[in-house]
């Protein structure tokens, strides 16, 4: 029953935050604020576990000379380049991400890679629209029509006559049917989230803690 301790901890932590939300009591509020601010330190420590996992994966590939082991060298290269410039080098007062070399790596390596990955969405949204938007059923047709009308309302492709009202139609779809179902989804998600969180605090849901064996 070694999960009893952790479950009690989860309960106390949860009640502390709930109490802070509702109650106006100085000491409680200030402790809760402090906890909220600093519990991210656990996350900061946990990254070491992540890095250990990453190293294990890639060192394993290197050791076993698995397919594509050379790429693992690239990963290590990128990792250490960022660590050395970001953690250990100083240039005047500038350290970390403000160090010119680290900033250079960020601007010219990480940033364009991220932006380009993100921009692939323009292609994928096109291929997904092409493949999925077929008038197979009433539901699919509604999906298709709503998407097309909103797209047409977004950019001035078709102008003149009836088409002048496309932006209004778009706004109506967004404001009325879209808003209605968003509200419903939000209400559902809120309730689901709340009941899951309550189950965690009360120790009914404990899968996340894994096993209890020693």
């Amino acid at each position: 029953m070694s999960n009893r301790g952790p479950l009690a901890v989860a309960f106390i932590a949860g009640m502390l935050m709930i109490g802070d939300y509702f109650l106006d009591w100085g000491p409680l509020n200030s402790y809760a604020e402090w906890v909220q601010k600093y519990y991210i330190i656990i996350a900061a420590f946990a990254i070491v576990l992540g890095v250990a996992s990453l190293f294990k994966l890639h060192l394993g590939k290197l050791k076993r000379k698995e397919d594509g082991w050379r790429y693992s060298i690239v990963t290590f290269f990128g990792f250490f380049a960022m660590i050395v410039t970001g953690l250990f080098m100083t240039s005047g007062d500038l350290t970390g991400t403000k160090h010119p070399w680290n900033a250079w790596l960020y601007t010219n390596v990480q940033l364009p890679l991220g932006a380009t990955m993100f921009s692939l969405l323009a292609f994928f949204i096109a291929s997904a629209a092409y493949r999925a938007f077929r008038a197979r059923s009433l539901e699919a047709t509604l999906l298709l029509l709503a998407a097309c009308l909103v797209m047409l309302g977004q950019v001035p492709i078709l102008t003149g006559g009836v088409f002048e009202s496309l932006p209004e139609i778009k706004q109506w779809i967004l404001d009325i049917p879209n808003m209605a179902s968003k509200r419903a989804i939000m209400i559902g998600v809120g309730l689901g989230m709340m009941s899951t969180a309550l189950k965690i605090i009360f120790g009914i849901e404990r899968t996340y803690l894994g096993g209890s064996e020693e």
Partner: protein
């Protein structure tokens, strides 16, 4: 259209643009198929970003909030000022920087390593995880109630105030804007919301009225998904334009 020089190679900025352009093309090559260039970029990205986050965590979280605090705490302790060392006033209330109180998150941080050393200590790491998730759940419970459930419901009910001058003023709405079409829209909005909520009933048998509402609810959901999809296209194309602008203007130096 004037073709200028391609970005110069011999300055840090110029070299940077070349590297960025090369990596941009590496990622784009994935659209054709998986290939060594993409693999190279992918592995580099994982390495670089992990390193970046470590330095962010260190400089933005660990150093100011933990290391510096502990250092200040110990020096206050050295001066014999215990209360100051823990950042408390004489009643035990928190007054200032946490200083030595940071020992608590430090301990919780250290606990999670123990799973690493021996499975025997795994329960200690569970205390950290339980604390972490417990705090998150505690924050989520009232917050999801207030911001997701109640605000949505309140907003929905409040919409109808507009049809009554007194109530509209109380709600801060302009009763002048109440027209027949708004009436229809508000009714439609309410019906849509009610039907879509009905779709999420899990434990009631889907029969009769509920079944009909379910169906209408699904239609509303589908229109909403289509609309968000269509709406998002613009944002995604914006990103692609951004990349093209970089390649054409910054790298190839094309002036228009």
């Amino acid at each position: 259209m004037i073709f200028n020089l391609i970005a110069p190679f011999n300055t840090p900025e110029g070299l940077g643009i070349w590297i960025a352009a090369f990596l941009t093309l590496c990622i784009f090559s994935f659209l054709y198929k998986d290939n060594p260039f993409y693999k190279f970029a992918e592995h580099l990205f994982v390495g670089v970003s992990t390193g970046y986050y470590i330095s962010i965590y260190y400089w933005n979280t660990l150093k100011p909030n933990l290391i510096d605090e502990l250092r200040k705490g110990f020096s206050a302790l050295g001066e014999g000022n215990v209360q100051k060392a823990f950042g408390l006033d004489e009643n035990g209330s928190i007054i200032a920087e946490p200083h030595l109180r940071m020992v608590v998150p430090l301990m919780l941080g250290i606990f999670i390593f123990l799973i690493f050393i021996s499975r025997k200590n795994a329960w200690l790491s569970r205390i950290s995880f339980a604390w972490y998730i417990g705090v998150a759940s505690g924050i989520a419970i009232p917050a999801s109630m207030a911001t997701r459930v109640l605000i949505q419901a309140q907003g929905s009910v409040r919409d109808f105030c507009i049809f009554n001058a007194g109530c509209a003023n109380a709600a801060g709405l302009d009763p002048q804007t109440a027209t027949t079409s708004l009436w229809i829209n508000s009714a439609l909005l309410l019906i849509g919301t009610l039907c879509a909520v009905a779709y999420f009933f899990f434990s009631l048998p889907s029969k009769g009225v509920l079944k009909a509402m379910n169906k209408v609810g699904i239609y509303f959901l589908m229109i909403s998904f289509g609309a968000s999809f269509g709406y998002t296209v613009m944002a995604r194309i914006s990103l692609l334009i951004g990349r093209f602008q970089f390649l054409f203007y910054d790298w190839l130096g094309i002036n228009i």
